[in-house]
Every structure is written in C-alpha cells, then in structure tokens.
Amino acid sequence: MPRAQLQDLQLRRFKELAKRCYTKVKHYKNKFTDMKITPDDIKTLDDVKKFPITVKTDLRDNYPFGLFAEPMENIVRIHASSGTTGKPTVVGYTKHDIDDVWTETMARSLVCAGAWRGDVIQNAYGYGLFTGGLGIHFGSERIGAAVIPISGGNTERQMMLFQDFGSTVLTATPSFAAYLAEMLKQQKIDRKLIKLHTGVFGAEFWTEKMREKLESAFGEVNATGKFNAIDIYGLSEIQGPGVSNECIYKMGNHIWEDHFMPEIIDPKSNERAAPGESGELVFSTLTKEGIPLIRFTTKDITSLNYEKCQCGRTHVRHAKITGRSDDMMKIKGINVFPSQIEYVLMKIPGIAEHYEIIVERDILDKIKVRVELTPKTFSDSMAELENLKKTIEKELYTTLQINAAVELVAPNTIPRSIGKAKRVIDMRKEV
C-alpha cells in the first residue's frame, strides 16, 4: 500500500480510536478532560502528539478490567503478563481483536518470515496466560501451516518431534532455541532428519551476534546447512507477538501499522523524537476493541525507518531493540522488574533491605537473588536457614512465574551505593 494511502487509513482509524476511548473508557475520558482535548481535535496525523501517553502503570492502576472498552459479553479471551509489582497486567480481546487483528497480523508476520502452507511449525512458546503460545498458534493455522502446540520446555520431546514430524519452522525464545540447537548437536541426531529452515524468535532481546550464532548452530545440524533466524516483536498490552516482524532481508522489523501506529518519543520529555532518531517506541492500537490504547509506551528503545524495503513492503521498520528506558528485564521471555523482587522480599520478615539481582546466561537465562541475613534471621540451625531460602524462592516463583535461586549472604556483603541503588547485575553479554 502506498504510504499516502496508509496514512489516510491511520488518520481515519485514529479518529475512531480516540472516540472509542473517550466514550467507553473512563480513564481516557478523564485524561482528555484534564488535557482539554476531545476526539474532534484530531485533524491530521500530526495532532496525535496532543493526546496523552499511556503507561503500563495505567493498566495496573485499573486492575483488572478498568481499561476494557467492552463489557464481558463481548470479550472472548483474557491474557495477562507480569506487572511492575505483584499484580499482573490484564488484557482482553473481542472476537474482532482475535480474528481480524491478532491472528491477521500474526499470519502476516509468519509469511513475512518465510513460512507458508505446507510448513510444520513447532511452537515452543509457552501456552497459557503468556501471549506467545496462542498468538503464534492461531497465526500458523490462518496461513494453513500445520502447527505443533508443544509449548516451552520438554527438551527431549522437542528433539523427538524435530525428527519424527519433520518440523520446518521453530518458534521459540532465542535462548531456548540456542539450547535446542546445542542439544541437537550433542545428541548427534542424523541431520538428514532435521528439516528446520526458519526460526521465528522473540519475546527476549537478542543481537545480531546471537543471530549469527543461531543461524550457524542450526545450519550445522539440519539437512540443508541453511537456516534463517527471524525476529518477531510484540507485547501483551498491544496484543502479544506479531506487532512487528522481520522479513527475509533482516533489515528491521516491519510494523503492521494499519493496526498499530508507531511513534518514537524522547523518554525524558515525552516529546516526539525527530525522524530517524532513537527513543521510546510508542503504539496506538488503531483497530482494537477490547482494550484500546492511545500512545502506549513500550519503554523499548529503537528508531524507525520509513524507506521502502527490498521485499517491497511499505510498512515502516523499527531497528532491533537496543535496550529499555526502565529497569525491566526479560528472563526466559518473561518480564521481570526489580520492584517485583523487592515487593516479595519486603514481605518476608527478618531480611535486610539490601539485595542484588544477578542475571546470567549459560545458554539459558538464570536469575539469582542475593539476600542479606540479619542477626534476627541467623540461627545455628541450617534447616532453618534452608527453609528461609526455600520460602523466598517459592514466593519469588509465585510472583514472577520463573525460578529464581536465592543466595543468603552475610550482612554488609552487598555493595552499598550512593543515590539510586544498582540492584541488577546483568551478565548476559553479547549472546
């Protein structure tokens, strides 16, 4: 679609979105009133910048369904991701959102990555409240591929299905994919049986170096010696996976901007960044009904490229995400905020307020939380200390939904810093 036509469509849809939010969502009605704007104030796409930014905490503050624009009769699915504290961020979808937005853009994403009817898609994203599994699933069916809903983990069975079902496409987090490639190599599986030609990897940040590593690792164990590692991007607030996807030229992710209109803003001022500059990626969900969001800031740092791509698509591309403007970490595809960990620790009596989070990757991501004991919690009984450790680990799992190892340390071992404490040590270098 020529860009001029695309922009007309975006303007029309943004007007509808603004009206939908204003009339159906109290949060937006109040925001608009405070800012003295109405849906009629949008005349050109440039006027979008007059509208309020939406942040993740707006979802939390309206937990669970406060930002839904439709009554429960019209909601057909609910997903949730971890919020910044104990409460998750909840999103709801109407039938239109699932069929015409998510499944549609997910289908486009898979085709863009090089998948098609006849492909066997082994979907190793988690199925459940997390959007990854089901998002990929319905998109795969839409393009007429055969999807294997194996979900995450279960390495031995993943290996078996690669061989027995002749899977051609793997969808997974890049760290789990790297682990699977390593296992294929270690188990010396006959490479003639491995038909994988493409991986659609996301839900975690990954680098060009990681792409090289993954492409050569799968190239070493598959029949053709060739493998494409393609980036998929998404977040549950916007819909889940399939907000944008790389094409086979791997020169940035195409954003399906007829549904998700992107902007780049300066994280400090919230002002729109100059064209081509990097900043926070912001989306307006032009067509969504369940939980329509105006200018939702992802906190992901990237830049936009409006040039037409070699593949012929005119949809704008964003560069690989280079970081975050907040302290959110992605561990095994799951969002983790230091504040969630703090929230858990502060509930447990006798733990000092000093803690440190260490993230490592030896193929798979690992998170360790170092906690200082106090004279009150120290006892001669090792059973009691081990119990304390297990209690913290269990509480962390309940809140984070990932396993974090707890290390008990002596008082004053965690470095004190002046001003904002540096609580996270991320050792996942360029992998």
Binding site: L373, P375, D380, S381, M382, L385, L408, V409
Partner: protein, 146 residues
Amino acid sequence: MVKEMVTQISIFIPNRPNQLAKVTGILMKEKVNIRALTVSETSDYGILRMIVSDPDKAQKVLQSSFLVDQTDVIACALKDSPGGLHEIATILGENGVNIEYLYAFVGKANQAILILRVENKMRSKAIDVLEAKKIKIFDPEEIYSL
C-alpha cells in the same frame, strides 16, 4: 537441679577464601582459645560451630564483623573403645531423643569428649537418661578451661 549447659558459638561464614582466617585472626588477637570446632556447609555458605574458652567474649568480638549465634549443647564423656559412640546413640535413640548434630574432640588425658545438639525441649531429658547410664556430663567451666 537443672544442669548448666555448654555454650557453643555459631558463625555464618560466606563460602569465599579468607573468611575463616578473619574469624581466627580476631580470636587470636583477643586471646580466645578454640577447644573444638566443626563446619557444616552448603554451596553458598557454611556455619562454623565452636567451643571456645570464653563464649561471651567471642560473641562480643566477632559480632561486629559476623553473624554470631549462641547455642546450648551437651558435652559428655565418650569411651575411647569400640562401641563408645554406639552406647550413647542407643541410649538417646531408645529414649526418643533426636540428635540434630554432634562432633567429638579429645581433651586432657586422652579423654574423648562428645558435643551433642538436641532439641531444646529434649535437653534435660537427654542429660537425665545419659547420667542414669553413668555417662559423665561435663560442666561448662570444665570444658572452657580444658
């Protein structure tokens, strides 16, 4: 009469080089003598348990640098012949006293001494059943001043 207990010092030691030397350095400087010790460890840390010449002083000088706890333990004589430990284990076992941990050392005149840690509420019972079988229970001062 409730017998006075031997006080054991327990110290939390991070599993890193030079941590033990820090403890022993302080004790040397303060002239606290170590009578017996044992270490239990996990991959991250250990608990150093010691019988010393002056437990209160040891606690005082160590607690600014380490987590220190005092625990009551029983010190009893151990026959230096086959079956010596078996006898004590059997007496306690038959009387339903659970041993949390124990360690032994040799005192004066080749007298073997067993340090026993049992649940607090079983302590007097443990002493009673041992003494009934003529096992010597040491007074704290006897142990500190060995």
